[in-house]
Symmetry: C2
Subunit: 137 residues, 2 copies
Amino acid sequence: MKKVCLSPAEIERRLEDANVRPTAQRIAVARYVLCEADHPTADAVKAWADANFPKMSLATVYNTLGILVKAGLLKEMRLPHTGKTVYDDNISDHYHFVDEKTGKLYDLDETQVQVASKLDGGFKVTGVDLVLRGEKR
Amino acid sequence: MKKVCLSPAEIERRLEDANVRPTAQRIAVARYVLCEADHPTADAVKAWADANFPKMSLATVYNTLGILVKAGLLKEMRLPHTGKTVYDDNISDHYHFVDEKTGKLYDLDETQVQVASKLDGGFKVTGVDLVLRGEKR
DNA sequence: TTCTTGATTTAGAATAGTTCTAAATAACAA
DNA sequence: TTGTTATTTAGAACTATTCTAAATCAAGAA
């Protein structure tokens, strides 16, 4: 699945539209997580920034990711296995498959897996977290 | 759902059957997690031990929980939300509902939720982690 | 411009949960 | 007993993340 890569100017507009002031750091992080990265962790973003941005502190990385999540441009999730938080630019409702050998995550949509709840009225469901584990070849 | 509580002697036999030497600490922890507790965290086990056992270190709590998991007497899982590991004496395949207000976990079986995978052969699924979020009343 | 004010970024400290380490203790076998 | 191994312990170390307080920056007012 190829990803359309946005220009800094387009990223800037997206940030403005979300009422996030588009600083250089935010544009850089947003561009990376929205266009280049695939389910990155904060560490991965920091590593990318160290290699591609003049200077960015870890606090700013976490900060910015948090801001993007709050702005609705990014989803945050903690996987059942690693204790780490990963970020997902696919903000629609969807599920995941994790390759236990490589740790790689794959997005799954509702054509690929379905969850059918028969819970009684005592359970009001507001969200579904589903991760299939296994091996991808 | 009432839980049948095992005597220390019965716990001891279970540990022996699983090739785990039944020390006083292990019997105490096993009895608590298998009979009394409901999805406890390591912290909860430690708190119980502080109140009900002469002296137990946190390392022993983690150690013992790890041993019980390896022995197949207990399941370990990390929830999507809290970063904490919780332990589940229900070792059969099952899912969970988490009340986001209280944090309380409910076991769900396959009569209550079903997962239907239509993944192509490239995905070999070996496990399914499903957590429904919401509110229970 | 220059100033002011508030937002942002920063380094490093602090925190939370867990694992590791090395020494002390307990249990078992001979 | 004595020797050997397993278990337990306290505390250090570690990882991921958040917090803090100071420095820097940016946009509007003068």
